[in-house]
Point group: C2
Amino acid sequence: MPQAPLLSIGELSRRTGMSVSAIRFYEARGLVTAIRSSGNQRRFLRADIRRLSFVLIAQRLGLTLAEVSAELATLPQKRAPTRQDWQKMSARIRGALQQRIGMLERTRDLLDGCIGCGCLSLDRCALYNPGDRAARAGTGPRFLLGDRAKDFEEG
Amino acid sequence: MPQAPLLSIGELSRRTGMSVSAIRFYEARGLVTAIRSSGNQRRFLRADIRRLSFVLIAQRLGLTLAEVSAELATLPQKRAPTRQDWQKMSARIRGALQQRIGMLERTRDLLDGCIGCGCLSLDRCALYNPGDRAARAGTGPRFLLGDRAKDFEEG
DNA sequence: CTAGAACCTCAAGCTAACTTGAGGTCAAGC
DNA sequence: GCTTGACCTCAAGTTAGCTTGAGGTTCTAG
């Protein structure tokens, strides 16, 4: 039974649970590619359901779209990702997650050491200056405990 | 030796390490208050060094400015915060931090369970649907693993 | 053949947390 | 008297990750 091989954007939206506008946005960012129908409408491969699912999952794991994009780029183009591909990515992501956990734990421990001291002295407070150069100069929102990207750049 | 009791914005900037523009911004947000000199320049109390230091530390601990603002509001106005005040806040913040760590750990464990499965099936993947309603509808940036604010609203 | 759903393309808006810039004031030093 | 530096206000820009809206086309059902 030859099921329609291509999906409209609406169908893809239904299958992934993400909004139509989000899919268009992801396409503009190069996270998915669409071919066009005769009437200029987007048509997606069924494999894109998985691709977008990965985007959702990876975001939940804390990757930015840029990072997700980089991960997707490691997948060989034009063939479905194998279990091995997925495992390699998972390992990388796990490493980053673990680093983030470690950082939060260290912060929590510093806080524990500080409760009761009440000093709030900029010179002496360990919380104030946990030896980080990740001060992220420039503009844009500040993220949880410093630069998100760092975890992945080096991990 | 009667030291000048009031600080200019430049001095406050030097003492806290934050930029002048940031201080003005915080003032607009109500995190600090300034009185004005005859020539319409801002003058701050020395106590504001601590107040702003707290802002810096709390941000590093992962609070948004709105949350910092809320915490500062729990401090009795017009008297220096006591050790007790600081301890109560610390405890609240620690709780939120701990929740965030727990969430990341659970996510990591789910990922561990998933490595090797490679399914990426939206229906079955535990990673995809970790029972959260924290999907944060609406606009604005999405934060690490869901709604930051939630941790504090209920904690 | 026509209504309505679904699709299209821009452009602009939203939040967070600030920065940057334009245009102007004020005080001190030479 | 004039420059220099610190200060002032207000508007607009920045990043991330989308959404919303305006204005127009295409597909499907009756």
